[in-house]
């Protein structure tokens, strides 16, 4: 469509150069999209087709069927883990976004009471890490084993996201705050009625980052959830697809090793939420990420 007009001084691209560029674009796109295409196609193929091909299906033409998805949703382990993942992602993202916006707003007012202390306890998170073992011992000690909070709370605050939000809040002109204050608005009103509406783009990016982190997390569940009936989708995916094993103890649920088509359907279910939200947030990446990275 809208092609950037070549400035008068720029030489006409050579045919060979254009061909090389075009070829690299196609190769790069294929390297990423082709695996997704063949996985999607296999998940939509019948068991017979997969058996005849002897693996992943590359050529469409054997028709599309939702057989594998039906089978997958009949498997109570997968269905339950999907509900668990959706729940953890929704609750966790809500907690994280609210806590981070409030915290970042507080950090965007230098000179306030305790500002330095609060700022340093967040910024030091970039260079000092508690380490796996102390966190494991602590989360187990405070009784969060087999509790979904053990997945959410340790990852609820990302210092990176807080700093991205803070940098954006600080770039809002001071005059807006001053005039709101003259009108008698308190901090909460200023945040809700002035700062938040102006920061929709960066809040959208941070929300995506948190949601993706929760959706993808399997290691906290692996560490703290002994009851496999509570496992999220990412962990079931790891067991069924990466390890090709049944769940260790399926807590009374029937647990049949899935076929290739069903495995690929599980992969698709794990990918789809990202594919759905992604286009809406992608246009804000540059704004959000670069502001955080460069201005921070």
């Amino acid at each position: 469509m809208s092609s950037r007009n070549r400035p008068a001084w720029e030489e006409k691209p050579s045919a060979a150069g254009l061909a090389a560029k075009g070829a690299s674009i196609v190769v790069i796109a294929l390297l990423i999209l082709f695996p997704l295409y063949t996985i999607a196609l296999t998940s939509l193929s019948s068991g017979d087709t997969v058996n005849r091909v002897g693996g992943l299906v590359i050529w469409p033409g054997d028709g599309v069927t939702f057989e594998a998805y039906e089978q997958m949703f009949r498997n109570p382990v997968v269905l339950r883990s999907l509900v668990v993942s959706l729940g953890i992602t929704a609750v966790g993202t809500f907690i994280s976004v609210v806590v981070s916006i409030l915290g970042a707003y507080s950090l965007s007012r230098p000179g306030s009471f305790g500002h330095k202390t609060i700022l340093f306890s967040v910024l030091l998170m970039f260079v000092i890490f508690p380490g796996l073992i102390p966190v494991y011992l602590w989360v187990s000690a405070i009784g969060l084993r087999d509790n979904y909070l053990a997945i959410i709370l340790p990852m609820a605050v990302s210092a990176f996201n807080v700093v991205v939000l803070r940098a954006f809040f600080m770039s809002i002109p001071q005059e807006l705050f001053d005039s709101a204050r003259i009108d008698g608005a308190g901090e909460f009103r200023v945040l809700w009625q002035i700062v938040a509406p102006l920061s929709k783009a960066v809040i959208a990016v941070v929300t995506l980052f948190y949601a993706v982190a929760y959706w993808n997390n399997w290691f906290n569940a692996f560490l703290y959830l002994d009851d496999t009936g509570k496992w999220p989708l990412a962990l079931v995916l790891r067991t069924y697809v990466v390890e090709s094993a049944p769940l260790p103890q399926a807590s009374g649920l029937q647990d049949a090793p899935p076929t290739l088509a069903v495995k690929m359907a599980i992969v698709m279910i794990a990918i789809i939420p990202a594919l759905i939200i992604y286009p809406f947030v992608q246009k804000h990446f540059k704004k959000g990420v670069i502001i955080g990275a460069v201005k921070g």
């Binding site: 002897g54 915290g103 230098p110 796996l132 993808n216 992969v267 794990a270």
Partner: protein, 328 residues
Amino acid sequence: MSTVTDKESPVEQAGDSPKRKAKAKAHWRERLRRDWPLLLMAAPMMILVWGFWWIPTLGNVVAFQDYKPFTGGIFGSRLVGFTHFQVLFADSEFLRAMVNTLSITAFQLVFYFPVPIALALLMHSIASERLRAMLQSVVYLPYFFSWVLVIAIFQQMLGGAGLLSQILRSNGFEGVDWMTDPDTFILLVTSQAIWKEAGFGAIIFLAALAAIDPNQYEAAAVDGAGRWRRLWHITLPGIRPVIVLLLILRLGDALNVGFEQFFLQRSAVGSQASEVFDTFVYYSGIRTGDFDYGAAAGLFKGVVGLVLILAANKFAHMLGERGVYSKS
């Protein structure tokens, strides 16, 4: 790739008007009365940060204890000084984890690091905005996949029962299984990292490219500089600060090659090739129950990592770059 600066931003300095300074000098009781809503806002964040970051950080004391999880706990276990660290440095498994980690870092510095730069140059040179936006959408996408997904996808493509083997076999060749081959593991993890993260890593270089003044290109072209000379004399110098900064950051982060990617593939390729610092901590600490020993390994990595980051940052300042942080 967090290139966050904790330098007080220009905006903040601009906000340091005389009025604000006078405010800051007010008596603490007055400031508390004025700022309590801000403290209330920060409270949930501070509870989580202290409760799940800084308190566990103090728990690193178990690295110096003969830690007995059931009979002693953290307050009842005997202190043993640096015993665990002495054992650690004589532990061949730990040394192998160190060698593996550093080799993978060095390898990726050469074979991963330039990829986002090249990708950014390619995307920047695409004249059609629509095509560029489409390519960006595609290359950013895998960043949002979990490592579980990425490895599952690679398994389906390059594994023993994967697509590549399937095609080779049906054409009368022998199949390959790169997912379980320790000899090519370093290539495998690097291609996975490129597939998943190089696209997203290009964003920061794209921003740097966009910030170069187009007049410079025009002036150079008028002076007779061709495409390649403009690339060499304008484009690359223009993004050099970002390249240097990210390179130094990566060096400061040399002990981190990622945990999940290696943990997930350890059983397939064996620990000989895939053991890195973080997986060593997990296996020596949690899997075998030697929490004190695992914590010692983790603490060693944390302290060396901190020193490396501070040194890298100092180095960045010496070169005149802003670095990750600076004194505010």
